[in-house]
Amino acid sequence: MTVEGRPLEDTELHDATLIGRARAGEVMAYEELVRRYQDVAVRTAHLLAPDGDAEDAVQDAFVKAHAALPRFRDGAPFRPWLLRIVANEARNRRRSAGRRVGLALRAAEDRRPGDAAPSPESAVLADETRATLLAAVNALRAEDREIIAARFFLELSEAETSEVLGLPRGTAKSRLSRALGRLRERLAVEAGGDR
């Protein structure tokens, strides 16, 4: 289904073309549009509801986004708009499953077949440090975890983060700052209280 070695066109221009065709009823164009973002969509769903089936959540979100496509504002970036729908779907699943926390983000050392390979940069973080940091992130409440995940695990921009999580820009900024503060507190406790 893929072609190697072909330079990507300008992303937004290309998105706009596909959006136009998808709105005209071309499902194939819609598929190609969302396929461009399904990797980050699955990451988003997994980070927000790691116990669920991220691919199913993404699939449902893609169907919902298709129905919402007439309301997409022309000229706006498509990726955060789509990821917001994915994020909402993942959160709804998490809530309806009745799991308040249940966060099970795993580090890649217990990778299973089919998981994405860890990137070289992850190797710079010592295993022990990573485990400590992961435990502290996992122990945060959902609201804090989500914004840290959006900003640093998904590496979304500030603007994208606020759109995906449905927060005003200022709120996203202050929430992130408070979340990092609470993360530090957790880490300090782990480190033996020498704050």
């Binding site: 819609y30 699939q59 940069e121 640093f152 590496e155």
Partner: protein, 272 residues
């Protein structure tokens, strides 16, 4: 070299943020492989089943009825019109550039016989393909090409033969495939293949064994099979490269390769 370990909670903000990014990239997250069962495709099927796919196909089909005369070489510029042309069981539709997948290339690992993963149908032996075809398969008699390395029979009756890359069959964009030939009876089945071509595609009219054909080159195009109701057969849909299509009696044949037009035509002339 190990850097001095500073407790995480006293790291300056940028360092803590870097550590979080590093953690993010080391998280075990299920990988998605683009393909006919990825979330995009599954969502697409659900949307199509709910009736979402039909407007475009209907619209295209209406415009397609405005069949224009085919010039010797059609260079289709970006005009808002479709040109219908084709061969028995095969129709071409011009449209906007087919989307280029941004995902990883086709896996080349030992996942199956060459051509598996292209949605060609069920892998069978060549002998089984000959039996299942219901028509006399045409095969290249060029001795440098030899017998196919894999054969597939699709639910809709097409037979595909795949050769691995060889010195005289350069690899195509699909890992492990040097030559792909698909044969089907365009006259008996009400279904048909549809090639959705990029406006920039160049279609050159050719003859093979005295019968008409087309050489399609340029940007990759979609190749899909529509059933008698006009519904796309999902598994048949994929992106393909340079292709020669021609007829031989009741058969329509397509040859996909990285050979270029002259060599592809030369090879096609050896089919018996």
């Amino acid at each position: 070299m190990t850097e001095p370990r500073m407790p995480l909670h006293v790291l300056p903000d940028p360092a803590l943020e870097d550590a979080l990014r590093g953690l993010g990239s080391s998280l075990a997250i299920p990988a998605v492989r683009a393909g006919p069962d990825d979330p995009a495709a599954r969502a697409g099927r659900r949307i199509a089943e709910a009736g979402g796919s039909l407007p475009m196909l209907r619209a295209w089909r209406l415009r397609r009825s405005l069949v224009l005369a085919v010039a010797a070489v059609l260079v289709i510029a970006a005009v808002a019109a479709a040109v219908g042309l084709g061969l028995p069981g095969l129709r071409f539709v011009f449209g906007d550039p087919p989307p280029v997948p941004s995902t990883s290339p086709t896996p080349t690992g030992p996942v199956g016989p060459p051509g598996s993963g292209l949605g060609l149908g069920t892998a069978v032996s060549v002998a089984e393909a000959v039996r299942a075809a219901g028509f006399d398969l045409r095969l290249p008699t060029d001795p440098t090409v030899g017998p196919p390395d894999a054969a597939y029979v699709a639910s809709f009756g097409a037979v595909s033969l795949v050769w691995e890359p060889a010195p005289n069959l350069p690899a195509t964009a699909f890992g492990g495939v040097g030559l792909l030939i698909t044969e089907f009876r365009g006259d008996v089945d009400e279904g048909y293949f549809e090639k959705a071509l990029h406006f920039d595609a160049v279609v050159t009219r050719v003859t093979v064994g005295g019968e008409r054909g087309y050489w399609i080159s340029g940007p990759p195009h979609f190749f899909i099979y529509l059933d008698p109701r006009g519904e796309p057969v999902e598994d048949s849909r994929r992106i393909v490269g340079d292709t020669l299509v021609w007829t031989d009696g009741e058969l329509t044949l397509r040859l996909e390769s990285a050979l270029g037009m002259e060599a592809a035509l030369g090879l096609a002339e050896t089919f018996e």
